[in-house]
């Protein structure tokens, strides 16, 4: 009885104060170009690492068995793998262009002052790169050429 009433009172007292917890871990830090370029660099870097791992394995297969190598390479000539190649070129292109930006940041005072502009230049060059590659690759996959 006493315990019950105490809990009711404390619940009543606390109810108006407590709002439904929204992300108790805190909000996502709102970093700008520098932070997001680092996030993209890390994601593409890890993805490229796993690609290289598989790439070294499939290439070294030719020493073991040329027939097995041919079978694996033929399995890459499917539309799914073709789309995967687009993702691969996109990741490597972004990692390479942003990598040049990071080199400029690490070695020049100019780089630290103009890192935001350099990020957008890298994105611009990346879009041009993909604009040249993606249509040709899509024709290659779906045009049957």
């Amino acid at each position: 009885m006493t315990a019950e009433s105490v809990s009711t009172v404390s619940a009543e007292r606390r109810t108006p104060k407590i709002v439904t917890p929204r992300r108790p871990a805190g909000t996502v830090y709102r970093g700008r170009e520098g932070m997001w370029s680092w996030v993209l660099h890390r994601i593409t870097g890890v993805a490229i690492y796993f690609f290289l791992l598989v790439h070294i394995l499939d290439t070294s297969l030719v020493r073991v068995s040329p027939e097995a190598y041919n079978a694996v390479i033929n399995s890459y000539k499917t539309p799914i793998m073709g789309l995967g190649e687009i993702a691969l070129v996109a990741a490597i292109g972004l990692h390479a262009l942003n990598g040049l930006r990071i080199i400029a940041i690490d070695f020049t005072g100019f780089g630290t002052r103009h890192q935001k502009a350099m990020f957008w230049v890298a994105i611009g060059l990346w879009v041009v790169l993909l604009a040249g590659f993606v249509p040709r690759q899509l024709m290659h996959i779906f045009g049957g050429a």
Binding site: P24, G26, T27, Y29, G31, G34, W38, T112, R113, Q115
Partner: protein
């Protein structure tokens, strides 16, 4: 706030106020298992800062709200907190400069142990600061007179003398969040201040301390620190200069 009465007679018109909603991440270690969000509606003026709104809440609505502040004018570096997801000094952030159509999120800085509400344990931060020898390391001069320095030599490290040790930079760094062993931007900034000081003789010692896997090489140039610094120090640039000094083997 108490001076407002003095200002009013000159302009008799009513200064418009508006209602701002602050959503504050509260944590009381004696009651809460984990932090919770609580919202407050505060009547504020366009000239009010986030710190004024926090004062109003503490003085008029909920006295248990806990935060640090001392000078309240951007010099002491006590009230660094995360305002709308970015590290800012509450005393240098005008509410009208934020998007007031939405609630204002206020939470403690990230990466340091949360003690209560907006207060974190700053000890790991100051421990890194102490490790880089933040004092002039120099023997006695030959003639017993002052150490002379040209304006050009002084300008070399002027930017990094502005640090107020508020921890806004260090607690904005993604590397520091995940790896508390990293010295962090503030310690490197204060090392930079002495490494490039022509009167100091301890540059080699400090470069040795920072030439570590938890030293300057942990920096991933995310520029969060440079964006967060309330004194406008080019933090990432200072870190890059220390990296280059280590590579060249001299300041």
């Amino acid at each position: 706030m108490s001076n407002a009465v003095m200002d009013k007679p000159a302009v008799p018109e009513v200064i418009p106020s508006f209602t701002a909603t602050l959503i504050i991440r509260r944590f009381d270690p004696e009651v809460d298992d984990e932090p919770r969000w609580q919202d407050f509606d505060v009547e504020v003026y366009p000239t009010d800062r986030v710190l004024d709104a926090l004062h109003k809440i503490k003085w008029e609505q909920d006295g248990s709200l806990t935060f640090r502040r001392s000078c309240a004018h951007g010099v002491c570096g006590s009230d660094a907190m995360r305002i709308n997801g970015r590290n800012r000094l509450a005393c240098k952030t005008l509410i009208k400069d934020l998007d007031i159509s939405k609630p204002i999120y206020v939470e403690a800085i990230k990466g340091l142990p949360l003690e209560k509400d907006l207060i974190v344990d700053m000890e790991p931060f100051f421990e890194s600061y102490r490790q880089i020898n933040p004092f002039l390391m120099a023997g006695a001069t030959k003639d017993g007179k002052e150490r002379k320095q040209s304006p050009v030599e002084r300008a070399r490290f002027d930017d990094t003398t502005k640090c107020i040790l508020c921890a806004a930079c260090t607690s904005s760094c993604p590397v520091f969040w995940t790896d508390g062993q990293y010295f962090g931007p503030a310690a490197i900034v204060n090392a930079h201040r002495f490494i490039f000081d022509s009167r100091d003789e301890g540059a080699g010692v400090r470069l040795d301390i920072l030439n570590d896997k938890e030293g300057v090489w942990r920096c991933r140039t995310t520029f969060n620190c440079s964006e967060a610094c309330p004194r406008g120090i080019e933090v990432t640039k200072a870190i890059a200069e220390v990296k280059q000094a280590i590579m060249r083997g001299k300041a």
